[in-house]
Structure formats: structure tokens, C-alpha cells
């Protein structure tokens, strides 16, 4: 384990959406701040910095994590994925397109975190039902939509729209 000195900047190297990135961070610098301010990856949003709202959710080595509850220096050598990774060159991915179709977003501030959690769920439980989807979404706060469009979008993609799972 590296010895890190408070108040001193340390180089952090990891992959972000498949690309190798690096930057300098003091040990106390939050990962969310590092992504946004050091790397300019503004897609990840910060809603509370308490771990309560879920807006800053990203994937780290294939697991959904709150980037406001991690320090930048903790992701040395890891593989991070953020909302910017979801769309394909051809356009929105299936989940994103479903979110548009079902009006699953309004201000769009909480949306990146929600997309990342649903992406994680889909990777792990492609047949998750509505109860499970709502359970996962309860880790996110959306103040605009009342969640209805988000749940419908997820059900579209998870293939449970007719309750077949």
C-alpha cells in the first residue's frame, strides 16, 4: 500500500471509460471532484456529498459506487465507467433511449447516477422485476419525475413490461 502524505499531491492513474488517465490529487480530494475538476468529466454530478442521493454513482471495476464517498487516490489502477461511456457512436444506448421515450428525466441532474445504477443492475440481473428495479432506484433521489418514467424505461429494457419475468 502506498504511503500518502496529507497536503501533498500524489499521481493517480486509472482507466476512465476505457482510456488511461492520470492526474495529481491530494489524499483528501474526493473522486467526484477529481473526475469533474481535474479530468473535466462533468457527466458525473454531485448532489449531496453525503452518499444519500446517488447522483454521483459510477462503476468501478464493474461495481456501482458513489464517487463522492471515495477519494481519488483510492482508484489507483482501477477501471472506472461513467455516464459518458453509455452512448454508442450510433446514438443513445437502449436504456438511454428508453429513458427518453418514457420521459424518465426532466432536469437530468440525477440521471447519470440512475443510468449507472441501472446499467449495473442490468449486468448483474438482466431479468430483474419491477420490485427489484424500484429497490435499486431507492438508492437515488429524483425530485422531478416521481420515478414513473424511470421505472417504465427500466422495465422496457429489462424486458418485464408485460410481467413476463
Amino acid at each position: 500500500m502506498r504511503y500518502l502524505e496529507a497536503g501533498k499531491r500524489h499521481t493517480v492513474r486509472f482507466t476512465l471509460n476505457g482510456r488511461a488517465v492520470e492526474g495529481d490529487a491530494e489524499p483528501r480530494l474526493l473522486l467526484s471532484d477529481f473526475l469533474r475538476q481535474t479530468l473535466g468529466a462533468f457527466g458525473t454530478h454531485v448532489g449531496c456529498e453525503h452518499g444519500s442521493c446517488g447522483a454521483c454513482t459510477i462503476q468501478m471495476d464493474g461495481k456501482a459506487v458513489r464517487s463522492c464517498l471515495l477519494y481519488a487516490v483510492q482508484v489507483e489502477g482501477k477501471a472506472l465507467t461513467t455516464v459518458e461511456n453509455l452512448a454508442t457512436p450510433d446514438g443513445l444506448n437502449e436504456l438511454q433511449a428508453a429513458m427518453q421515450k418514457h420521459h424518465g428525466l426532466q432536469c437530468g441532474f440525477c440521471t447519470p447516477g440512475i443510468l449507472m445504477s441501472l446499467t449495473q443492475l442490468r449486468e448483474e440481473e438482466p431479468n430483474a422485476d419491477e420490485a427489484r428495479i424500484r429497490d435499486v432506484l431507492s438508492g437515488h433521489i429524483c425530485r422531478c419525475t416521481g420515478y414513473d418514467g424511470i421505472v417504465k424505461a427500466a422495465l422496457d429494457v429489462f424486458g418485464d413490461v408485460f410481467g413476463k419475468n
Binding site: 453525503h50 453509455l86 421515450k101 432536469c107 437530468g108 416521481g146 424511470i150
Partner: protein, 1049 residues
């Protein structure tokens, strides 16, 4: 999920982008088609009656009336950007390289004089550029203008006195946000605490918060319409209830953000803020910065992360940052954090209302009498006291009630200043009104729905002038209720209630009938003035909306508006509106909503509030587009060699009516205005850019009788729901919720439903979960989103949305606002259902499990302070606030005398208190301890002072003391008793500690557990000490809480 009515019809993305043809001769049949079969009849007839009232330059408006886009659930143009994470929000915008970052030091106490502020240590810290206090700010800033002229000045920073927890006291500017926040801890403020007043009723007679005012009631007016006294004197029934609406907030997920710069050469400010309007506040900001409006340039970002009214309250920080930039000589940025937002941004007003209703024998309401006590927090900050006046014209709700008395009082208390909040003023009146309608129904033995039906404004009376002056523009209230009862399945819901009750379950049905105002009259706030005062100050009225539509040199269409959307999808709807005018594809219309006061048209009414978009802004855009089209038609007529009246639009082309082959691409003639201005007809004018200002003649100032049409359009809502209350946990489960809306013409039904669902979620939160809690000492207790509980996907029930569409005769497109309605109707609808389920008259919100348990079981008896059976200790005297209480005991293997000596020996005691940096005696049996403490997500250093009193060696002693630091303050006391037992000494203790500041705001949930853990640790160490064993080294942050709690020293 069930969605019924017009919103059913959804088009896929591919469908709407492909379909571009339009039949310009299409008549009202198309209109009927869009409204859906359930709306045939009355509404279409109504529309037909009013269809000639559109503003028009010539008679070519038929195309837009019958256009294909408005009224469709078109997917949003905003989404592809947002879904990629590419939306540019305020904190994503570039910051100048020389910018510094601000952090605010905030008051940890609710009320106190600021004796001294020592900023020297903070100013010397690494990266700090400047430390700014109220005294510094005073040189460059004037107080905020207020609607009520009282001597209670407010500035962007506290001057001399703090009046609420979280009030900004000083500002640090530093190289980055982390360093700025570090330096906050080094500012030393000496407060002389004053008695706080938190409850509005108590505030009426409490000492004045503001030395310049006579008491805390800063506004007091009576209003009288018709003859309410006579109605009450002759009524068959009088019912009365007192209701209190709590403090809550819609808490947007994006917090406030401001970047300010000052140019001393021009003496001008340039500010970017995620401000949402109303732009009346621009005047206040400029005045406070001591510049004319044209030297306070305010820009808003392309995207804003929600607001629901809340971001109005960024304005004091615009002033603070402006002054900071001026002092620092460089740009300054500030990003609010969540604790700051919850504690100190703004909130809905809490209000105590006593409402009386006079009814005749048949249940007709003859008169209402409101006595409203409004709590605006520490200052009447603009736009307050608007909350209490926004509904003034529709205080009779959806009912035809001719006699009305209103007594409005506005008090200040030691809480955060209130401001705009979705539903603004609505839940505060509908909670009492619709609770009282249920009470009246019970009194008269009538069905609650029947009582409401008997009092509705009759359809034939529309447009209907209410007693206090609102002009209810359109609607078929009784018909909408009938349709909702039928289509939402009320009969089935009643059957469910019957069977649930037969099985012994607590099931109830509630309903609410609400008029939802939109497009606020800029003069409604002047209703608070007397007619004489209004006469002197001149009339305030109207609600101007503005929009600009232009063709660029490539012939493409651009739209710019000052509606400052915060997520509603204005760009989508305006693309639909303009596409209909030019019969083109919405994808060809680019809409910009970021706003710049220096370059874009705007008025004081601009901004995103009062549900003004659909009625006013979309209407102004429509008007501007029509004006532009009329000019384009002149150019095209010349090109096509036809008379202007024969110009028609369709398929993205301009063509000759009757000869479609004679046509041009839409952009061809438009581009000509740029490239060949000498070659177009003179009558077409130069440049193809039209800015329309749309006015509403119905929005006159209050008349001499204080009658005010406070809003331009009034929608109708009828909600009902079934709920079940868990008999053990008192959790409320919403079984079914039906909401019927008539918001006039729906411009985009999918977005309309989205607004309804969002408003419902917030209304449901207000009913069951959300409260910005304050302790009696003014401590703020809901500083995280784990304390302030917004609904999650688990709590939101199935929602059945129904629509009627009675077009407003007063808005250009027949649309009314609708996003706020469920914040008005849902809280009381749920409360009525819960009251029906539990059989109690519920008079306050939110109906959390604990609040409901308290109502149904009575208040929980306070924990016994004398827990020790062997030596009953005196009850602590400090019980005047919400506090931690605890008691317990432990056995120490030493004689009482040994333990006693240890407790009074400062050198030994320091070792027992875990993690104490230093303990010094400051007098006989008085200590000062320097400790570091952290609870939850915050930590900081504290200075604790503790005195030992009532010493009865070696039997008992009392500890009294407190602690203060950047995290907050505490005071407390405890009793220790020592009893000799077989194995040594039994130590029993009780304590009471009051906490305020950050720790109270964020740590409430953890505090009891933390206290217990620390006490255990203290005694463990005490045992070790008397055993002579080595005490383990000082431990972490929680350990240090002990001394702070006043138990240790």
C-alpha cells in the same frame, strides 16, 4: 401504471420525425381528434366559441390552431444531451483562470449578537485570498429591498446579529474550495446568545428579532368581501378548525452555484448563477450592489438541475459574490453544499391557520373566515410575504362563496427566510380549506363529495369572478368531478374501504378539490398595501412574457426566451409551437433558454415560476412566430408572384394556396432577408427577427375594494385516494391515487403528465415524509438527505392521471399552468384519507409514522431521568429544548473515595477522557478542554468548558457546561452518583445535552448511539485507570464526543 385521457396518445421518435405534412384547410375536427373522445361536447364547443380571439396580424392563424405538433407527446429535444452526461449545468461552465472560490461561515446558533469576529488566523492560512465579514460587505452593499416597508434590513452577510442557524456570517475566498472551507474553522466568532423564538404563535408576543420593529408581526391586515359577519350570524352551522402547515422544501438535486466578476473600470458586475427568476429580483440584486440594472449583467446556464421555485433564493448569494469579487479584485465562484442548502437556502412558509366556515342547512358555504399566521423566518426576504398573497384571489377555492373575511399576519422567527416553492401558497390554504370541508360534511352528516359538489363554481358562470377578485377563466368543475369519479373508479375504491374495514383494517378515503392558479399578476403582492398606500406608490399589474423568433442567414429558425427552465422541457414545447406556425419539423427549430440580461429581452415577470410557461411564454412565442411569419409571407409572396394572402406553409415549404407546385423551401425566402435585403418588399421590413411582448389585460392591479385577479389562468384539480394505515407501525400506504386535471389545452401531454407526477411526488413527500425540522432552541435538524426524507421509488404509489381540457380564453394557446397543482392538492388529499382511516381530526403535517403515533397514542412520556434505583439523582434542570437524554450506570472496582479523587484530579482526568488534547483548570472545579470531535460526515475542533457543582463527596456531583466550535455548540448537564457496593463503586449517571449547529443538522440520527458508545468508553477507561492499568491511547473522533457531551470532566 394507468394513464388515461389525451395523454394516451404517444408517438415514437421515428414517427414524429418522419411526419411533416400538414393540411392547412383542416378544421376543428382535428382539434376534436386530439382531445380524444372523452372530451367531445362541451370543451370543443367552448373552444369553437372562442377560436377567433387569437392575437393575429392577419387571418393566417388557422395553421397554428390546427397544427400537428402542439398537443402531441413529442419526446424531448433536451434528452439526448442530458442522457449522455453532456448537459452544461452551472458547475460545468468554465471558470476564469484567476477565479478564487468562496466558502461561507454560518451561524451555529439561532439568535445572538456577534460580539467579535477574528479573521486573522484564517486570512493567514494557505491559499486564502480574503476573508470578508459583514462590516466589509457594508461598504459595498445596500440592504435588500422588501415588499413590506419595515426597519429590518437584511444583507448578504449578517451584520451585528445572527437570526437563524446557517445565516452567513463571513466568507472566505481561497485558491480552491477545500482551502476555503479549511479556513472557515480558523475564524473565531464570539456570539452573545439571545433567546430564540421558533414557533410563530410564540413569536407574536416574543421580544422583537429586529431592533427597529415593534414586535415580530411585521405585517397585519384584515380583508373583507361581501358580508361575512352577517353570514356567520345567520348561518345554520359554523365549523372551525386550526391547522398548521410545516416547513418543507422541494430540494433540487443541483445546489446553488454563482460565478461573479466585477469590472472597476465600468463599475459593473457580471454574474452567472443558476437563478430561475422572477426577474423582479434582478432589481433587488442591482440595488443591493449599488449599481443600476444595466450594470448588473446576469446570465443563466443552459441547464439547471431542478428548482421548483427554490433557486429564486440564490439571489442573496449573487450579491455576496458580487461584493466578494469587488473586494478580491478577481472572479469568485461559489458552489453550495447540501447541508448549506437544506439549512439555509429557503423553505416554504409554515403557517398556522384558524379557518371558520358558515353553512346553511343544505350545506352551502355562506362564508369563510381565515385567520392566517404566516412564518417567513428571520427576514421578509423578497418575494415574501408573497406566499400568503399569491392565492388571495382564489381563497375561496373551487367554490362559489360570496362572503369572505381574511386576517393576514406575518411574523418573523429564528428560522431560515422563506421563499418560492412549488405550489407557492397553495398547500397552506388548501390544507385548512379541504380539511374543514371534510369536517363540515361530518357535521352535517353529508358525504364529503356531495358537500363539495353543492358548493362548486357552476360551469355556466364561467368566467367567474370570485369574491376576492380572481377571474376563474374556464372549466367544468362538476363535470370533471363526475368524469373522475367514473374513470378513476371511486365506487370500487369505496368497496375496497368497506371490505378492509370489515376485516378490521384502518383504511380511509380522502379527496381534495383545488383551483390551481398560474401566471401571477405582478401586482398581487401590492394587495398587502392599503388602497391609500397603493395610490401613493402607483399601480403594479400585468405579467409580461417575451419571446424572440428569428431566421438566420441559412434560413434556419431560432427561438430565444426568458423562461429559464429548470428541467420542464421548454425547448421541446417551443419547438412544437413554432413548428406548427411554420408547418415545419420541430427538429428544424433551435431553442435557446440560457439567458443574459444584457442582451436578451426580459421583463420583471421573466423567469420560471408561477406556472407561467404554457400560458404566457409559449403564448408569447406563438405570437412572435406569427408576427415573423406574416413578414416572411410578404417576402415569399413576391418570390412566388402571388398575393400575400395566398401564401401557405406546409412540409417545410412555402407555397401558393391552390397551386402547391408553385413553392419554395421555407428557408429560401427567409435567407433572402439576410443576403439580399434590398430585394425584398419594403413592407416586410429589415431583418427577420421578431420579439413579442405578450400582455394580459385581465391582470389589473388591486381595486379599491382589495379585489385582485392574482393570476391569469386557473386550472382545476380533483384528487381522491385510498390509504391504509399499518396498525403497528402507523406507516401510511397509498393504495390508489387518482388526480384529475383541467389545465386548458395541453401543449405536450407527456410533459404535462411528467409535471403532474413530479408535483405529486413532492406533494406526497409533504404529506408523509418531509419536514425541515427545528428544535425549540432553533437548532436545525434536517441537514442531510438522510434526515430530510424525499420520497424514493419505493414510496411512490400508482397514480391515475385524468385530463379535461377547457381552454383558457385568456392565453394565446388556451393553455394554463399545471406543474404546481399536486403540491396544493396532494398533501390535504392524503391527510383527509389518513384522517378517515384513523378517525382523528388531523391538523398538521407531515404524517410520519412517529407523528401519527404521537397523535394516536399521545405524546411519549419522557424517559425517567432518575434511572438509578439505588441513588435517585435529581432531575436535570435543563429541559427546555430538544435534547439528548440518557442515563445508566457501571460498576468500578474501587472505593468511592478513590473514584471521587480521580474525577476531581485534572491530571488524571485528562487521561480518562479519550482523545482530549488538553485539559486545564480555569478555577475551582472548573475546566477547559480542547477536543476534536466528529459525528457523521463532519468533524471539527471544540473548546469545552465544564464546571463541577453541588459536590457531595464522595457521593454525587453535578456537571454543567458546554462546548463551542465550527461544528456547532452544545450545552448540557449531568449528575453522577457514587454508591459503595460489594465489588467497588456503582456509578450512576443521567445527562441532558442540547446541541445546535452542524452536528445537530447532520448527526441527529447518530447522536444517541454515539453518546452511548462514548460513555461506555469513558467508563472503560475509568475502570482501567483505577485498576492502575495503562490506558489505551486516545482514540478516534467519536471518543472525543464524551467530553463534549459534558459527561467526562
Amino acid at each position: 401504471m394507468t394513464v388515461q385521457g389525451a395523454s394516451r396518445k404517444k408517438l415514437s421518435v421515428s414517427a414524429w420525425t418522419r411526419e411533416t405534412s400538414i393540411d392547412v384547410t383542416e378544421g376543428p375536427k382535428c382539434w376534436k381528434h386530439r382531445f380524444g373522445p372523452s372530451l367531445l361536447g362541451l370543451h370543443v364547443a367552448y373552444w369553437a366559441k372562442h377560436e377567433n380571439r387569437f392575437p393575429s396580424v392577419n387571418n393566417s392563424t388557422e395553421i397554428s390552431q390546427n397544427g400537428k405538433w402542439v398537443g402531441q407527446s413529442m419526446p424531448r429535444v433536451e434528452d439526448p444531451t442530458l442522457l449522455r452526461g453532456l448537459g452544461r449545468f452551472a458547475d460545468d461552465l468554465p471558470t476564469p483562470a484567476n477565479a478564487c472560490h468562496a466558502a461561507f461561515l454560518r451561524s451555529p446558533i439561532a439568535h445572538g449578537e456577534i460580539s467579535t469576529i477574528d479573521t486573522a488566523a484564517a486570512a493567514a492560512m494557505p491559499g486564502v485570498v480574503a476573508v470578508i465579514t459583514g462590516a466589509d460587505l457594508l461598504q459595498y452593499s445596500a440592504p435588500f429591498i422588501t415588499g413590506v416597508k419595515v426597519d429590518a434590513p437584511q444583507y448578504a452577510l449578517a451584520i451585528d446579529r445572527v437570526r437563524y442557524v446557517g445565516e452567513p456570517v463571513a466568507m472566505v475566498l481561497a485558491r480552491d474550495r477545500y482551502l476555503a472551507e479549511d479556513a472557515l474553522d480558523a475564524i473565531v466568532v464570539d456570539y452573545q446568545a439571545l433567546p430564540p423564538v421558533v414557533d410563530p404563535v410564540a413569536a407574536v408576543d416574543a421580544p422583537a428579532l429586529h431592533p427597529g420593529t415593534d414586535g415580530n408581526v411585521l405585517h397585519d391586515r384584515y380583508f373583507r368581501y361581501g358580508d361575512p359577519e352577517d353570514a356567520f350570524a345567520t348561518a345554520a352551522h359554523v365549523v372551525e378548525g386550526t391547522y398548521s402547515y410545516p416547513r418543507n422544501s422541494c430540494t433540487p438535486m443541483e445546489c446553488f452555484c454563482v460565478i461573479a466578476d466585477y469590472d472597476p473600470g465600468a463599475d459593473a458586475f457580471e454574474v452567472m448563477a443558476n437563478f430561475q427568476g422572477p426577474y423582479t429580483l434582478h432589481t433587488i440584486m442591482a440595488r443591493s450592489l449599488k449599481v443600476p440594472g444595466n450594470r448588473m449583467r446576469l446570465k443563466t446556464p443552459p441547464f439547471s438541475g431542478g428548482s421548483y421555485g427554490v433557486k429564486q433564493a440564490v439571489f442573496p448569494y449573487v450579491v455576496a459574490l458580487g461584493v466578494a469579487a469587488r473586494i478580491a479584485g478577481r472572479p469568485v465562484k461559489w458552489l453550495e453544499d447540501r447541508l448549506e442548502h437544506l439549512a439555509a437556502a429557503t423553505s416554504a412558509t409554515n403557517r398556522v391557520t384558524t379557518l371558520r366556515a358558515a353553512l346553511d342547512v343544505d350545506g352551502r358555504v355562506l362564508a369563510l373566515d381565515y385567520d392566517q399566521l404566516e412564518d417567513c423566518g428571520a427576514f421578509l426576504r423578497a418575494p415574501e410575504p408573497a406566499t400568503i398573497y399569491r392565492m388571495h384571489g382564489n381563497m375561496t377555492g373551487a367554490y362559489a362563496i360570496e362572503n369572505l373575511a381574511i386576517h393576514n399576519r406575518v411574523v418573523v422567527t429564528n428560522k431560515t427566510p422563506t421563499g418560492l416553492m412549488r405550489g407557492f401558497g397553495g398547500p397552506q390554504i388548501y390544507f385548512p380549506l379541504e380539511r374543514l370541508m371534510d369536517k363540515a360534511a361530518a357535521r352535517l352528516g353529508l358525504d364529503p363529495l356531495e358537500l363539495r359538489r353543492r358548493n362548486l363554481v357552476p360551469t355556466a358562470a364561467m368566467p367567474y369572478r370570485t369574491a376576492p377578485g380572481a377571474l376563474l377563466d374556464s372549466g367544468d368543475y362538476a363535470g370533471s368531478i363526475d368524469r373522475a369519479v367514473r374513470d378513476g373508479g371511486l365506487a370500487e375504491l369505496i368497496a375496497r374501504r368497506d371490505s378492509a374495514r370489515a376485516a378490521g383494517r384502518m383504511y380511509g378515503i380522502g379527496m381534495a378539490v383545488v383551483v390551481e392558479p398560474s401566471i401571477s399578476n405582478m401586482g398581487y403582492i401590492t394587495t398587502l398595501l392599503s388602497p391609500e398606500q397603493r395610490e401613493r406608490s402607483g399601480p403594479k399589474n400585468g405579467a409580461l412574457a417575451t419571446a424572440t423568433v428569428a431566421f438566420d442567414p441559412s434560413g434556419a429558425i431560432s427561438v430565444a426566451v426568458s423562461s429559464v427552465p429548470q428541467g420542464q422541457g421548454h425547448r421541446t414545447v417551443l419547438a412544437q409551437v413554432v413548428a406548427d406556425v411554420f408547418a415545419c419539423d420541430p427538429g428544424e427549430v433551435a431553442v435557446a433558454t440560457e439567458h443574459d440580461t444584457a442582451k436578451d429581452p426580459w421583463t420583471i415577470a421573466s423567469g420560471n415560476y408561477a406556472s407561467r410557461f404554457a400560458g404566457a411564454v409559449a403564448g408569447a412565442t406563438h405570437t412572435a412566430a406569427l408576427q415573423l411569419r406574416d413578414r416572411l409571407s410578404l417576402i415569399a409572396a413576391a418570390d412566388l408572384n402571388i398575393p400575400p394572402e395566398d401564401v401557405a406553409y406546409g412540409n417545410g415549404r412555402i407555397f401558393a394556396r391552390g397551386n402547391p407546385d408553385n413553392s419554395l423551401p421555407l428557408g429560401r425566402s427567409a435567407a433572402k432577408a439576410h443576403w439580399s435585403p434590398l430585394s425584398i418588399p419594403d413592407a416586410a421590413g429589415a431583418g427577420l427577427r421578431e420579439t413579442a411582448f405578450w400582455n394580459m389585460p385581465e391582470l389589473a392591479e388591486p381595486d379599491e375594494g382589495d379585489r385582485i385577479n392574482s393570476s391569469g389562468a386557473y386550472g382545476f384539480i380533483f384528487d381522491y385516494c385510498g390509504v391504509e394505515v399499518d396498525p403497528e407501525t402507523y406507516a401510511v400506504r397509498i393504495d390508489r391515487y387518482v388526480t384529475m386535471h383541467d389545465a386548458g389545452r395541453l401543449l405536450n401531454p407527456m410533459l404535462a403528465d411528467g409535471q403532474i407526477r413530479g408535483g405529486f411526488a413532492q406533494g406526497m413527500g409533504a404529506a408523509l415524509l418531509e419536514e425541515l425540522c427545528y428544535a425549540p432552541d432553533g437548532s436545525f435538524q434536517a441537514g442531510t438527505l438522510a434526515d430530510y426524507l424525499a420520497p424514493t421509488a419505493m414510496e411512490i404509489p400508482e397514480l391515475t392521471i385524468l385530463h379535461d381540457q377547457s381552454p383558457s380564453p385568456f392565453t394565446p394557446l388556451g393553455a394554463k399552468g399545471l406543474g404546481e397543482g399536486n403540491c396544493m392538492s396532494t398533501p390535504v388529499c392524503i391527510a383527509n384519507a389518513v384522517a378517515d382511516a384513523v378517525g382523528e381530526d388531523l391538523t398538521t403535517l407531515p404524517l410520519t409514522r412517529s407523528n401519527l403515533a404521537e397523535i394516536l397514542l399521545g405524546e411519549e412520556a419522557p424517559e425517567s431521568a432518575s434511572a438509578s434505583p439505588s441513588t435517585p439523582a435529581p432531575t436535570p434542570t435543563l429541559v427546555d429544548g430538544h435534547a439528548l437524554h440518557g442515563s445508566g450506570g457501571t460498576l468500578v472496582p474501587a472505593a468511592p473515595v478513590e473514584v471521587w479523587e480521580l474525577l476531581l484530579d485534572d491530571t488524571k482526568l485528562a487521561a480518562v477522557i479519550p482523545g482530549c488534547h488538553a485539559l486545564t483548570m480555569t478555577g475551582e472545579n472548573a475546566y477547559r478542554a480542547d477536543v476534536t470531535l466528529g459525528v457523521g460526515p463532519v468533524k471539527g475542533r471544540f473548546v469545552a468548558t465544564v464546571a463541577l457543582q453541588d459536590l457531595d463527596a464522595p457521593r454525587s456531583l453535578r456537571l454543567v457546561g458546554g462546548a463551542a466550535g465550527p461544528l456547532g455548540t452544545s450545552r448540557g448537564e449531568g449528575w453522577l452518583t457514587l454508591t459503595e457496593t460489594e465489588g467497588g463503586t456503582q456509578i450512576d449517571y443521567t445527562y441532558t445535552v442540547q446541541i445546535s449547529g452542524k452536528v445537530a443538522a447532520v448527526g441527529g440520527r447518530m447522536m444517541d448511539g454515539a453518546a452511548r458508545a462514548l460513555i461506555n468508553q469513558f467508563f472503560k477507561r475509568l475502570v482501567s485507570q483505577v485498576d492502575g492499568r495503562e490506558v489505551e491511547p486516545a482514540q478516534g473522533l467519536l471518543a472525543r464526543l464524551l467530553s463534549w457531551l459534558g459527561i467526562g470532566p
